[in-house]
Every structure is written in structure tokens, then in C-alpha cells.
């Protein structure tokens, strides 16, 4: 997920979002002028607030599983009773259609709470496998709370990306400091109000602010930091965490490739790609970033995109209620830059090719409304800025490929993406992509849906992040897996085997008791397959 690039760039002394917004932007943002003021947390309050929830953790209040469950129930009510207000604030921030907010942010958060409530009791301890030597022992893995954890959210899904990790943090028995993105100011203000009202304020506290506040928060010691955003800030977070040896989960973004293979139901595939790309105006961490399209499908795909777009949003998406807007001027200008750099008409000769590509569909923008239409760019060079940075907006570059090997090479020459989408009915292609590329998630024949499955780990690899969450894994992210072994004083005669004075005979007994017995098959191949080099 590509959070506001500016989080750590801008620093102004004015501590409310409304004022900083208008101050930092040279443009008149009429669409955003209705921004509700988000009060930033005074910086000198921050250490005290963190200390307060830390003290609460020490009081062992959150160790009680029933307490956690009650908080989760209150959490559910908080969302349920305020759904309409939340939809409204997200609409103010992102012009997000009501149904999108309901279907993604609200539904997924509620599901996470219910899934957790359903299973929490069974998650806390699990038993480990025993061997002969441990026959008399009790072996379990107990999930301990970590202490006080920090959750830093992003603006593109301002509810989900803060509240979904919070579910696991509460369930695991931690006290929590929550830092919503200041960019989605309305939602941040609403979340602050609701959390204070519904959840125990001694255990869960919200800190608001921009660079200075976040810097100050990161100077405090936490027992885990969960950050959603971009890799530049991700590095800053991890560096700060290293001072206290704090483990981190980093949910970052990257350019998620989408491959359209030769053998595919193009009509369905196109709609699934378009849906994923246009949801929240492309401002989704796992949105398809660019398309690698097999030559044989290329023309048809471009044509079908336009048909599907008309089906979805009619002739003019600007007036369609289901099409979102860009978060702020800064992001709008960045995206418009890509469009301006590309050319509008296909070039006559290959020499006149613009490396920044040709717009074959869309390309309309409206600064006043922060509107950018769904735009298809073709003939783009892999070195163009549009193909170097995560797009995070409704612009879709389409690149021709000759075969699946070319797609594998293209993807492997870049950073590991957060998601990879392949549309194909060819077994060979599916296997090539599955085994030879690496990405946070891989979805065959659809986009983004893996996010909605609580049993699948959600997280990146390499530059797209570390650690994962969703469902039980959110709970585990915020837990320490404590190895617990309980022995008895019975059979203590056997202890003599390991005590000095030592002897070879003793060791062979020990080896017999403690040694792993490899099955015959696994060891016998050694002599046949290993050329002796000695």
C-alpha cells in the first residue's frame, strides 16, 4: 500500500489537518474545503499517552480473555451502530461510493471481529508433538500478549487498515496505540471519537498527527509495530524499531502485475481486471498495477476494456456515482503528470514513439474535483516513470508479451510485488507463474479476492513488506509464541544419563532417547545420490 508519500516530507507548525492541508498545497482545493478539522495530538502528550497504556498492560487488565472478548463485542457495536457516519466520512475523504465502503471496509472489518470472536478461545494455547523422551512431559505453545503495540494506518482504506489489525491486537491481549493516517482526516477524526467512546480508553488510545507526531511516537518503545504504507517510510519505521529491538510488520505496496495469457475467457477476465483497477480509483495496495498481455489477446483486451468500462460507469464516469476520486492535490498532480507525459495519438513512425506511452482510452482529468478517468496507456517503455513507481491511481499501462516466459522474466527483473494476477486456462502457464515468480499473494483468474479470505496470509515479501495478517494470523502477529514444557520429578533416574561424569555409553543411550529417527527411505538415498568428494 502506497500511503501518502508526503508523510515524512512535509513539516509545518500548524497542528490541524485542515490548516496544514491548505497551507502545504499551492492549489485551491474546493472539493476538499469541507474538511473537518482533525486535532493533532500535542507532541508533549505523546510519551504520557504511551506510558499510560503501558501501565495498563502491566496491571494485567488485558490478560483476561473475557475482557478482550467484551472489547471485541463493543468494537463490533461501534462499527454496526455508526456505519452510516463512517460511510459519510470516507466519502468526504475519498469520494468513495457507499457500496464500496460497505463491501470492503465495513464488511471485512466486521468479519474479522466475528471470526476472531468465534475462534479466540481455541487460539490461545496449542499443543506440540511429543516423542518418546517427552512421553511424561507436557508440551504446549502458549500465545502471550506482547505488551503495548503501535498500529499505523494508511489513508486509502482508512477504516480497514487501522481497524483490522486492531482486532488481532485486542484479541491477543495487548494495549494499543493507534495512529490513523492524517491524510484521510475526516475518517481519522471519526475513528478517534468512536474508539474513545466504545473501547476502554485506558487500554486503547488514538494519536493523531503528521510527521512530527509520528516521529515522536516512533521514539517511544513498543512491543510490536504494525505499519501500512510505503517502503520509504517502512524503512524509517524499521530503523526506529531497531533501537528497541521491536519486531515490525510492514504492509507495503509495489507494482502488482496482471498477466492476460493466450488461453483465457477474455470477457470475464477484462471485467475482473477493470473492477480491481477502478475500485477506490485505483488507490488500493493490491490493485492491478499494469497488464502484461499476450499478443494474441492484445487488441481484443483493449477493446473489451472500453466495453466493460461503459457497462460499469456509463459514458462519463465523472458523473457516475460509483466512481471515486483521488485523495488530494498532491496525488492528483502526480497522476496527472503521468497522463500529460504520455501522448494522445499513436505516433506515425516508431522513431517518434514517446517512451512514456500512448493514451488509447480515457485521459480526462478535473482538478477541481480531483477526478481522473480510467486511462489505458500502451506502447510504454519499461523504463518510463509510470512503469517504475507504483501507480496507485486509475491508470493502466498495457504491455505486449509473446509468451509466458517473457512475463516471468519481466516480473523477476523487478522488485517482488505484493500481488500477482494471472488470467489463464493453460496449465503450463499457471505452473510457470506459480513456481518461478515470487509475490505476496498470487490469484489465478481474478483480482484482489484473496484479501477477503481470512485463512490466507495477507502480506508482502521483499520490497512489498514483511509479516502477514488476517484471521488467526492477525492474532499471531500480535502474540508471542511461548514454548511451555512441563516435566515432573518422576523418572529422575534418567537424569543421570546427561550428568557428568560423562561417558560414551551414556551418550548412546541419550541419542537413543532424544534422537530423531529418520525413516529408512530418507537416509538410504544418501549413498546412491551423493558423489563422495572425500
Amino acid at each position: 500500500i502506497n500511503a501518502e508519500y508526503g508523510v515524512f516530507v512535509r513539516s509545518v507548525g500548524v497542528r490541524t489537518a485542515k490548516q496544514t492541508l491548505s497551507k502545504s498545497l499551492p492549489f485551491s482545493s474546493s472539493a476538499r474545503s469541507s474538511v473537518m478539522a482533525l486535532t493533532y495530538t500535542p507532541i508533549d502528550e505523546i510519551p504520557k499517552m504511551v506510558q499510560k497504556v503501558r501501565d495498563t498492560f502491566k496491571s494485567e487488565k488485558t490478560l483476561d480473555v473475557d475482557f478482550r472478548k467484551n472489547q471485541l463485542r463493543a468494537f463490533y457495536r461501534m462499527i454496526d451502530e455508526n456505519t452510516d457516519q463512517l460511510i459519510q466520512t470516507v466519502h468526504q475523504d475519498l469520494h468513495k461510493p457507499k457500496h464500496e465502503t460497505l463491501g470492503t471496509e465495513i464488511l471485512l472489518t466486521k468479519n474479522e471481529i466475528l471470526h476472531t470472536l468465534n475462534h479466540l478461545s481455541s487460539w490461545i494455547t496449542s499443543s506440540a508433538e511429543k516423542k518418546l523422551a517427552n512421553i511424561n512431559d507436557e508440551l504446549i505453545v502458549k500465545h502471550d500478549p506482547l505488551g503495548t503495540v503501535l498500529i499505523i494506518g494508511a489513508w486509502n482504506y482508512p477504516i480497514l487498515l487501522v481497524l483490522q489489525p486492531l482486532v488481532g491486537a485486542i484479541a491477543a491481549g495487548n494495549t494499543v496505540v493507534i495512529k490513523p493516517s492524517e491524510v484521510s482526516a475526516n475518517t481519522a477524526a471519526k475513528i478517534t471519537e468512536l474508539i474513545t467512546r466504545y473501547l476502554d480508553p485506558e487500554c486503547y488510545t488514538v494519536i493523531n498527527g503528521a510527521v512530527e507526531e509520528t516521529t515522536s511516537v516512533l521514539e517511544q518503545r513498543f512491543d510490536h509495530i504494525f505499519y501500512t504504507g510505503n517502503s520509504t517510510v517502512g524503512k524509517i519505521v524499521m530503523r526506529a524499531a531497531s533501537n528497541f529491538l521491536t519486531p515490525v510488520t510492514l504492509e507495503l505496496g509495489g507494482k502488482s502485475p496482471t498477466i492476460i495469457d493466450h488461453k483465457v475467457d477474455l470477457k470475464i477476465a477484462t471485467r475482473r481486471v477493470l473492477w480491481g483497477k477502478c475500485l477506490n480509483s485505483g488507490q488500493t495496495c493490491i490493485a492491478p498495477d499494469y497488464v502484461l498481455c499476450h499478443t494474441s489477446q492484445y487488441e481484443k483486451f483493449i477493446a473489451e476494456l472500453q466495453v466493460a468500462h461503459e457497462e460499469f460507469y456509463g459514458a462519463n464516469s465523472q458523473t457516475h456515482p460509483d466512481y471515486g476520486r483521488i485523495i488530494n492535490q498532491r496525488q492528483f498532480q502526480r497522476l496527472r503528470g503521468y497522463i500529460n507525459e504520455a501522448q494522445n495519438e499513436p505516433a506515425a513512425s516508431t522513431e517518434a514513439q514517446n517512451p512514456n506511452g500512448t493514451i488509447v482510452f480515457g485521459g480526462k482529468t478535473d482538478e477541481g474535483e480531483l477526478y481522473i478517468s480510467f486511462t489505458v496507456v500502451t506502447n510504454i517503455s519499461p523504463e518510463a516513470p509510470l512503469m517504475q513507481n507504483e501507480i496507485f491511481g486509475p491508470i493502466l499501462p498495457v504491455i505486449k508479451i509473446e509468451n509466458i516466459d517473457e512475463a516471468v522474466r519481466f516480473i523477476n527483473s523487478r522488485e517482488k510485488p505484493l500481488a500477482l494476477y494471472l488470467f489463464s486456462q493453460d496449465k503450463h502457464s499457471i505452473e510457470a507463474i506459480t513456481n518461478r515468480t515470487s509475490s505476496g499473494g498470487l490469484v489465478i483468474n481474478d483480482t484482489m479476492l484473496h484479501l477477503s479470505v481470512p485463512s490466507l496470509p495477507f502480506g508482502g515479501v521483499g520490497n512489498s513488506g514483511m509479516g502477514n495478517y488476517h484471521g488467526k494470523r492477525t492474532f499471531e502477529t500480535f502474540s508471542h509464541k511461548k514454548a511451555v514444557m512441563r516435566r515432573s520429578f518422576a523418572f529422575s533416574q534418567l537424569d543421570g544419563l546427561r550428568y557428568p561424569p560423562l561417558s560414551d555409553k551414556k551418550f548412546s543411550w541419550l541419542e537413543f532417547l532424544l534422537g530423531e529417527k529418520a525413516s529408512w527411505g530418507s537416509l538410504s538415498s544418501s549413498s546412491s545420490s551423493s558423489p563422495s568428494e572425500k
Binding site: H99, S242, G440, D446, F507, S522
Partner: protein
């Protein structure tokens, strides 16, 4: 594990460019090339096949089987380790992990099917374990073989290339490993780099896909900061003061022997060694008595000449430990040495030493001891022990000796540590199915057994859909409508119930209603 404190501020008495007489260091300008060559190998996909991984694991097993004598000699030179301890502490764990890996590798590597709601009934939902790339393993000197090779098993099993950096403090073992490893493992995929501060700093500037570091928390921070520059995930295996609580209900004779064994194995230079004892006043005298007896039983009256007792690794560590004993006796009024206290500088020998009535403010109690000195503190009840432990950093292990269930339960739920072992010491580390790792100041991440494989793997979420039933897509596509949304919620929204049966029945009911009405709806539309 408390590695040489000096890794990054080691007084470089030895020749900087060439290392010690025993261990030649890797030239710094070659380090990037070595890392780069492994990256090239990884790109070829050589390490991915199961047969390759198996073959390398077999070779690693051969290495151990062929060289037990050499391992004894090297660890004896570095640490005066008795052969028995080296077999038990270094080799057994690795052999177990290799055997387990060979047995279960196909099972570990296989994609795991994950639960799916009925909305995903036609989809394939899996977690795929894939190699990360080139990983770095930095070892420590106290178990110079095990702390390198045990993580390496996971790295190989997961299909990675690996750079191995043994501790330069245990120079003999590092030298032996550097000489021997390439004879057994594929040198295109696994390389050893040797050196001290400068070499390690140069090494950490390279981009790796995972770093597993065993050592102390000061260097742990440096490793993590270096890793942050490349967004590299880290596993940090560190140490800390592992408390040992002796409750009045324990069998004191067995307790004493189990503590003495865990504490004086490898002369206390074990990351999970009991660091100090919190003993109930009622059984205090008996415990001290039994500990003295156990030391005598184990090592005889003349420990200095016992073949079963190790030495301190370096002069630097020896001086540090000796100073701790000296301070404990001169500066404190209450505390006294009740056993041991002798040392021999020429042999780097420090006797098993018990310091009774140690004050919590003593230097002995301020950092990890990592040597054969055992402070004993009295407590009057279990609350005292819990608050004593919770006032300090989270330890790598807590040992509790008790027969009282309520006491065990309280320690289990009210303290946090890497591991909790009730009624014994160290043994949790040889149980492959228990995660081995710290929390807070004692580390992050855990390995051993299958977890080593997982540490060096990326869990890829995999979902495969078909083009079948694509009519359902319209529910989520724009233009949005309230009725579509209702359908979506009907499919995806979860219900809460503490009763599992109710949940299943509800899901099936929803599925049934959903499917019939959807088909009806579809048919009606078609023919209307």
C-alpha cells in the same frame, strides 16, 4: 545467547587485514562479489528442486558423521568442551533437525490447503512456501557448530542460497568449518565468510532476503538497523538473564542437580543457561546444600582437573567474569561465595561458583552472566518472583521448579519469556516441535524443526478461481445497487456464535437459501 561483546568493538590486536593466525579473514573487497555470485545461483533456480535440497541435507549429515573427531578437537581448542558436551550440545540437535527435514521435506514444501467459506467453494485456496533468495546466517561462539548449522538446515530445506558468518572468536571451529563445508555442500550456493567488525560491517551492507543473527542485543540492534536499509526481515536470537524459580513444593535434590547441569554445561556459556536463582526461603538452605553436593558428584572435588568441565572462550570474557566474582565478594555485605570462586587465568578456568544472598543491585544482576557464576536470591512467595521478573527485560527462558499447579499456572500466564520450562533446565531446546526464540530484549522470531523451514520461506497466498459461475461477478461490479450489496453480505458476512455446530448449520442454511434464490432469480430473468 550472549556472543562476544566485542564483535563490533573488539580491540583489534590481531592483524586487521588477514585475521588471526588461526583464522584467515575474507578480504573485504571480495565480499560483495561472493554475495552477488550466490544471487546469480539463486536466479538459476538450482536450489529450488526438492532433490537438490535433499542431496545437500544428506551431505550435511555426512559432514557430521565423517567429522565427529574433528568437531571434538576444534571445540575443545576453542572452549575446552568435553566430547560428550559437544556431541550432546552441538551435534545431536543438528542431526535431529536434518533427519526430521529429510523425513518431512515433501510435506513441508507441499502447498497447504486453507479453509474457505462457501463463497469460495469452486476456488482453490492455498498457502505456498517459496524460498526467499540469499540469506545470511551469523553465528555465535558458544555453540560454534550448532548455531551455524541448525539454521542452515532450514535455509537449505527452504531452497535458499546462504552466506554463513561463523564467530571469529571461536576461531578454530570457524577455520575447520571454512575448510570442510565446501567439500560437502555446493559452493555455488553456500559460502562461508570470516572476519571481525570490518568484515561483518561490509557484509551487512549487502542486500539479503533474510538475516538470522545469534548473539547479543547490542549487535542485534546494529543488524536490524542495517537490515532496515534493504527491508530485510530478521530473526534475532539473543540472550538475557533467564531466571530460575525454586518453589517450596519442589523436590530439592532433583531440582539442584537439574540446575547445576544446565548452569555449568559449557561453563555457563549457554544462551538459555539459568542465570540466577529465586528460591523460596523455606527451602533455601537445603537447595544450597544439594547444589554443592551435585557439583561434587558431577565434577569431583578437583574441578580444575575434571575432563567434564569446559573453559571460558577468551581472555576478555575471563577477565569480565573474574571481575564479577571479585566485586561480589568485596563490595557487598550480605552476599557471600558459598561454593567455588577460584579461577586460573592461564587455563581461562573459572570454578562453578555460587553466590548466596546476592543483592538485586549487584553488577551480577545487571547483565547476562554467561559464565559459571550462579547468584541466589531469596523470595518469600510467588508474587515476589513474578514482580521481580516483570520488572526486568523479558528473558529467553524461565525455569520453574514446583509441584503446585496454581503456582505453575500463575507463572505461565503472568510472565512472558521465550520459553517456560517447568521442573527442568535447557531441555525445551531439544524438542523440535517447540519454537525456539526470544521475545522483547531476548530476540524476535523462532526456529528449530519445521519452524526453521518456515523462517526461511515466504508464505505466498494462492487463490485459483475459474471462469465458472462468473454471473456472480455482477454482484460486486459497478454500477452498484442495494440489492447486489445485500447478496454480497449474505455470501460473505460472518455470523457470531460460540457454538461450532450452530455456525455450521447457519452456513449451510445460508448456502442453501443463497443458491436456490440465485438460480431462481437467474431463471426468472432469463424467461421473463
Amino acid at each position: 545467547i550472549n556472543a562476544e561483546y566485542g564483535l563490533l568493538n573488539f580491540a583489534q590486536t590481531k592483524n586487521k587485514m588477514f585475521g588471526s593466525d588461526i583464522l584467515p579473514y575474507t578480504p573485504i573487497d571480495q565480499i560483495p562479489d561472493i554475495v552477488q555470485s550466490l544471487k546469480q545461483t539463486f536466479k538459476t533456480g538450482k536450489t529450488r528442486s526438492e532433490s537438490f535440497r535433499r542431496h545437500q541435507l544428506h551431505r550435511l549429515l555426512d559432514l557430521l558423521n565423517d567429522n565427529s573427531q574433528e568437531i571434538h578437537t576444534a571445540t575443545k581448542k576453542d572452549l575446552g568442551k568435553p566430547a560428550f558436551e559437544s556431541d550432546l550440545g552441538e551435534i545431536l540437535g543438528i542431526r535431529n533437525d536434518i533427519s526430521r527435514a529429510l523425513d518431512d521435506l515433501s510435506c513441508w514444501m507441499a502447498p497447504k490447503n486453507e479453509g474457505k467459506g462457501f463463497a469460495m467453494i469452486t476456488d482453490q485456496v492455498q498457502v505456498i512456501y517459496e524460498p526467499l533468495g540469499v540469506v545470511l546466517i551469523i553465528g555465535a561462539w558458544n555453540y560454534p557448530i550448532q548455531l551455524i548449522l541448525q539454521p542452515l538446515i532450514g535455509a537449505i530445506a527452504a531452497g535458499n542460497c546462504a552466506v554463513i558468518k561463523p564467530s571469529e572468536v571461536s576461531a578454530h571451529t570457524a577455520f575447520w568449518l571454512t575448510q570442510t563445508l565446501p567439500k560437502y555442500l555446493d559452493p555455488d550456493c553456500y559460502r562461508v565468510i570470516n572476519g571481525a567488525v570490518d568484515e561483518t560491517t561490509a557484509l551487512l551492507q549487502n542486500r539479503f532476503d533474510h538475516i538470522l543473527y545469534t548473539g547479543n542485543s547490542t549487535v542485534g540492534r546494529i543488524v536490524m538497523r542495517a537490515a532496515a536499509e534493504h527491508l530485510t526481515p530478521v530473526t534475532l536470537e539473543m540472550g538475557g538473564k533467564s531466571p530460575t524459580i525454586v518453589d517450596a513444593s519442589a523436590d530439592i535434590r532433583i531440582t539442584a542437580r537439574r540446575i547445576v547441569w544446565g548452569k555449568f554445561l559449557n561453563a555457563g556459556q549457554t544462551c538459555i543457561a539459568p542465570d540466577y536463582i529465586l528460591v523460596h526461603s523455606q527451602v533455601h538452605d537445603e537447595l544450597i546444600d544439594e547444589i554443592r553436593k551435585a557439583i561434587n558428584d558431577f565434577y569431583g572435588p578437583d574441578v580444575l582437573n575434571s575432563p567434564h568441565y569446559s573453559r571460558i572462550v577468551s581472555q576478555r570474557q575471563f577477565e569480565r567474569l573474574k571481575a564479577l566474582i571479585d566485586k561480589a565478594t568485596t563490595q557487598e555485605s550480605e552476599s557471600k561465595i558459598v561454593c567455588g570462586g577460584e579461577s586460573d587465568s592461564s587455563q581461562k578456568y573459572i570454578a562453578p561458583t555460587i553466590i548466596d544472598n546476592c543483592s538485586p543491585e549487584s553488577p551480577l544482576m545487571s547483565s547476562e552472566i554467561f559464565g559459571p557464576i550462579l547468584p541466589v536470591l531469596r523470595i518469600n512467595n510467588i508474587d515476589q518472583a513474578i514482580s521481580f521478573i516483570n520488572d526486568r527485560e523479558k528473558p529467553l527462558a524461565i525455569y520453574l521448579f514446583s509441584r503446585t499447579s496454581s503456582v505453575i499456572e500463575r507463572i505461565k500466564s503472568e510472565t512472558t519469556s521465550g520459553a517456560l520450562l517447568v521442573n527442568d533446565t535447557l531441555l525445551h531446546a531439544v524438542v523440535q516441535d517447540l519454537p525456539f526464540g526470544g521475545v522483547g530484549e531476548s530476540g524476535m522470531g523462532a526456529y528449530h524443526g519445521q519452524r526453521s523451514f518456515e523462517v526461511f520461506s515466504h508464505k505466498k497466498a494462492y487463490m485459483r478461481r475459474s471462469f465458472f459461475l462468473s454471473q456472480l461477478d455482477t454482484l460486486r461490479f459497478p454500477p452498484y445497487s442495494n440489492s447486489n450489496l445485500k447478496w454480497l453480505f449474505a455470501i460473505f458476512e460472518r455470523t457470531y456464535s460460540s457454538n461450532k455446530l450452530t455456525r455450521i448449520v447457519r452456513e449451510f442454511l445460508a448456502l442453501f437459501i443463497f443458491l436456490t434464490s440465485f438460480i431462481l432469480n437467474f431463471v426468472l430473468k432469463k424467461f421473463a
